[in-house]
């Protein structure tokens, strides 16, 4: 049980929030109170009530059902981005950090150049070129985040490279690929996992910002971001329309961030503060 001694209240809160999100997504895959895109012009702007727990929007669509579907869309985009960016970034970072020399120099210059573009603007420009749909959002966000991941993995690889067991592996005559896969990768994994958690939060935030700006997943598919931007004209009369998606984003990010902090403390006890 000592392994879990460090699970403080904030880790538990993070787990609870993320667990709740996952449960909602799972439930939403089979059942939502209403059809999330069914228009009911007879009942627009219903305040939160027994019929519509979180109210209805300007077209009479049920806000709870839309938020549930929006959770699934945000989650799948964020998960896709994290998977793609971690896979590519780990590969590139390990190469740069372990091989050093020209590979490292070229990769780092490219990273610096891509990092010079503000992430969201780069994603915007890429979406302008690739078109706005789910896969191009995943690709655009991945390209924007790839340099950060590559750099973190590289610096982890750089420090692992100097350890004795790497030298031992070299002396034993292992190929470089074998050394990387067998010794460097497993030891870099904790840093990668912590990074993946914070990336997930960034991806949720960026996706909702892109949707809010009108370049995210195209309507009628609901996302938290486009629900917020649709709600703007009715902010005063129907404030639940802007409050609900905002709280969804906030609670998701809070859960993911708390979980990330706890993970970092757990995996890297030296950094615990």
């Amino acid at each position: 049980m000592t392994r879990f001694r460090h699970l403080h209240w904030n880790a538990l809160l993070g787990l609870a929030l993320v667990g709740w999100l996952l449960a909602t997504i799972l439930l939403g895959a089979f059942w939502t109170p209403y059809d999330p895109i069914a228009i009911d012009l007879a009942h627009p702007f219903t305040p939160p009530s027994a019929a519509h727990w979180l109210g209805s929007d300007q077209f009479g669509r049920d806000v709870l059902s839309r938020a549930m579907l929006g959770a699934r869309i945000s989650f799948s985009i964020a998960l896709g981005t994290v998977a793609l960016v971690i896979a590519l970034g780990t590969m590139l970072g390990l190469c740069a950090g372990f091989l050093r020399g020209w590979t490292d120099r070229v990769l780092m210059t490219v990273c610096d150049a891509v990092l010079a573009f503000p992430g969201i603007l780069l994603a915007l420009a890429l979406i302008a070129v690739l078109g706005s749909n789910k896969s191009s959002i995943v690709i655009a966000l991945s390209i924007a985040y790839l340099p950060s991941v590559t750099r973190v993995v590289r610096s982890a690889a750089l420090s692992i490279r100097e350890r004795d067991y790497i030298e031992a592996s070299r002396v034993a005559g292992d190929t470089q690929l074998y050394t990387i896969m067998r010794h460097v990768l497993p030891n870099a994994l904790p840093a990668v996992m912590v990074l993946a958690t914070s990336l997930f939060g960034w991806a949720v935030l960026s996706e909702s910002a892109l949707s809010f700006l009108g370049v995210g997943v195209p309507p009628p598919a609901p996302t938290w971001g486009n629900m917020l931007s649709d709600a703007r004209p009715y902010m005063e009369e129907a404030n639940w329309l802007s409050l609900v998606p905002g709280f969804c984003i906030m609670l998701t990010l809070l859960g993911v961030n708390l979980l990330g902090d706890a993970l970092r403390d757990y995996l890297d006890p030296r950094g615990r503060q």
Binding site: P118, L124, G214, E236
Partner: protein, 314 residues
């Protein structure tokens, strides 16, 4: 010191070169003939052909790039497809507003972060520290555009203290213009101070554990002097780097803020031109923000030795 500055300057050259290749290459990623895409679906073949020729699309790619880079270095970023205005003029006009908001917000956020972070680290595990850490954690989870909307709802609509929509240029009176900028600046300051406060607190805690702090206390230096002379400069160095990084990223984040508060800044220009497929403007904005980012971080690295002289002694 001179060698450090020189080395740091040299390092920006490949970065800037690659940045321009990326900006140039972006438009070539569009499937189909860029000229056709840029003119829109209603354009007649003759004008497409003329633009095709004008853009030099018949030439090989490296030749195109050199021609484009040459024009860019002379300050010619082309004209907007939508309005026919020179892209450079569009960017410069819009950037003033964005720069004002970003600079003030970053300055305020840094002040807040430094004071809260130092106090929290100094009184570690006190209730004040818990409040600062908790507050920063919550702030980190609040999307800036939603915070902006909520502030608009409260201070603009419910209380009616501040204007909700629109903008008055600085030329019509600084006071009137500031009234429209209060909420955007507050929003950006709050969202930025979260991550900076955490950084400042963490590095101040590190510094407080160093032997030279114990030594300074042991020799009888008043606590105020210990914090001001030993803890602050050493803890501020990493935070300063983060400030530089966030200045650059704020130029992107400002796009959503300007959308919330309907301000005609650089971010909004970029979003509007993406939506209108106005590629020369998109290209221009991207290049401009990237160059600003490189310049800001260069400046930060130049300031860094003031707080941490060790970096020049490599």
């Amino acid at each position: 010191m001179i060698a450090y500055i020189f080395r740091r300057l040299l390092l920006t050259i490949p970065t800037l070169l690659l940045v321009s290749v990326i900006v140039f290459g972006l438009i070539r990623l569009i499937p189909g003939d860029p000229a056709e895409v840029m003119m829109g679906p209603d354009a007649d073949p003759a004008s497409i052909a003329s633009l095709h020729h004008q853009m030099g699309l018949d030439e090989p790619l490296p030749v195109q790039f050199i021609a484009w880079a040459g024009r860019t270095l002379h300050g010619d970023l082309g004209v907007s497809i939508a309005t026919g205005e020179p892209v450079v003029r569009l960017i410069v006009t819009r950037f003033q507003l964005t720069a004002a908001i970003v600079l003030v917000s970053v300055l305020l956020a840094t002040l807040i972060a430094v004071s809260l972070g130092m106090i929290a680290a100094w009184r570690r595990n006190s209730s004040l520290d818990l409040a600062v850490v908790g507050g920063a954690t919550i702030v980190l989870a609040v999307p800036s555009f939603w915070l902006g909307l909520v502030l608009l709802l409260v201070f603009g609509l419910k209380l009616g203290w501040l204007p909700v929509v629109g903008y008055v240029p600085f030329s019509d009176g600084v006071g009137a213009a500031l009234l429209f900028l209060i909420l955007p600046i507050i929003t950006l300051t709050i969202t930025e101070s979260g991550v900076l406060t955490r950084m400042m607190r963490a590095s101040a805690i590190d510094v407080l554990n160093q032997e030279y702090v114990t030594h300074a206390r042991a020799k009888g230096l008043p606590e105020r002097a210990v914090l001001a002379r030993h803890v602050f400069p050493n803890a501020f160095a990493p935070t300063l780097t983060l400030v530089g990084l966030s200045l650059g990223h704020l130029l992107g984040g400002i796009a959503v803020i300007e959308t919330v508060f309907t301000l005609p800044g650089l971010g909004r220009l970029m979003v509007d031109s993406v939506l209108a497929r106005d590629y020369p403007v998109v290209q221009g904005c991207l290049l401009f923000t990237a160059v600003i980012y490189v310049a800001v971080n260069l400046a930060v690295d130049m300031l860094y030795p003031i707080f941490d002289p060790r970096v020049t002694a490599q």
